[in-house]
C-alpha cells in the first residue's frame, strides 16, 4: 500500500549515459512533482505536473525531461548525464494544484543517482 513509489532506488551510471527514473502514486492525487536534493541536503523543485500538464518548469538543464503518461505516473528522463547530476531525486504528489494553499505533499523514498 505504498503511497508514492520510485524506481530505481539507486542508480549508478557513467557520464554521458541516458537514464530514467519512474514514479507512481496510488493516492488519486492530481499533482506530481520532481525535486532534486543535493549533497548539502537542499531540496529544490524541478518540475510539477497537474493532470498530466506541465505547470512548473524551473531553471533546469534541458537534458532533463519529465513525462506524465497519466496523472498517477511521472517519469524523469535525463540525457547525457554529468557529474553534477549526482543527487537524490524525490518524486512527490499532492491532492490538487491551487495557486494558493493548502496541500501537503507526499514524498517518495528517493532515487540516489551517482554519476561516475
Amino acid at each position: 500500500d505504498t503511497a508514492v513509489s520510485q524506481t530505481p532506488k539507486y542508480l549508478v551510471t557513467q557520464m554521458g549515459n541516458d537514464k530514467s527514473i519512474k514514479c507512481e502514486q496510488n493516492l488519486g492525487h492530481d499533482t506530481m512533482y520532481w525535486y532534486k536534493q543535493d549533497s548539502k541536503k537542499f531540496l529544490k523543485i524541478m518540475f510539477s505536473y497537474n493532470n498530466k500538464e506541465l505547470i512548473i518548469n524551473e531553471t533546469v538543464p534541458n537534458r532533463f525531461s519529465p513525462k506524465s503518461p497519466d496523472k498517477a505516473h511521472l517519469n524523469l528522463h535525463i540525457n547525457s548525464l554529468e557529474l553534477g547530476d549526482s543527487a537524490v531525486y524525490f518524486c512527490a504528489s499532492s491532492l490538487t494544484w491551487t495557486s494558493g494553499p493548502y496541500n501537503e505533499q507526499f514524498f517518495g523514498p528517493g532515487t540516489r543517482l551517482t554519476v561516475l
Binding site: 508514492v4 512533482y33 525535486y35 548539502k40 541536503k41 537542499f42 531540496l43 529544490k44 523543485i45 510539477s48 512548473i56 524525490f90 512527490a92 495557486s99 494558493g100 494553499p101 493548502y102 496541500n103 501537503e104 505533499q105 507526499f106 514524498f107 517518495g108 523514498p109 528517493g110
Partner: protein
Amino acid sequence: SQKIEQNSEALNIQEGKTATLTCNYTNYSPAYLQWYRQDPGRGPVFLLLIRENEKEKRKERLKVTFDTTLKQSLFHITASQPADSATYLCAGGADGLTFGKGTHLIIQP
C-alpha cells in the same frame, strides 16, 4: 527572489526539553508555511501547515507559530525524545514549493 531560511543547521537538545526551530521568509508574504520531517535515506514527511491568519497550530507534542510581523515561523517539539532526532524542513513560497535548507535536530538522552 523569495527566500525561506532556516538559520540553524544543527541543534542539540537534551531529552525532555523543548526544541525550537526557526524559519524566516523574505521578499514575499506567504499564505501559509509547512513543516516536514526528513529522516536519513527517506523522503520528507509532512507534519503541520499553518496559514497566515493562524497564529498557532498544534499536533500532539508539536506546535507551530506564524508571526507575519517578524516574518517568521517557529516550530516547537515539547518533551523531546531521541526519536525526534531528524532534519526538519520549512516550506513556503508563492507556490508552497520552496524549501529551507533544514535544521538537523539531535535529541540527546
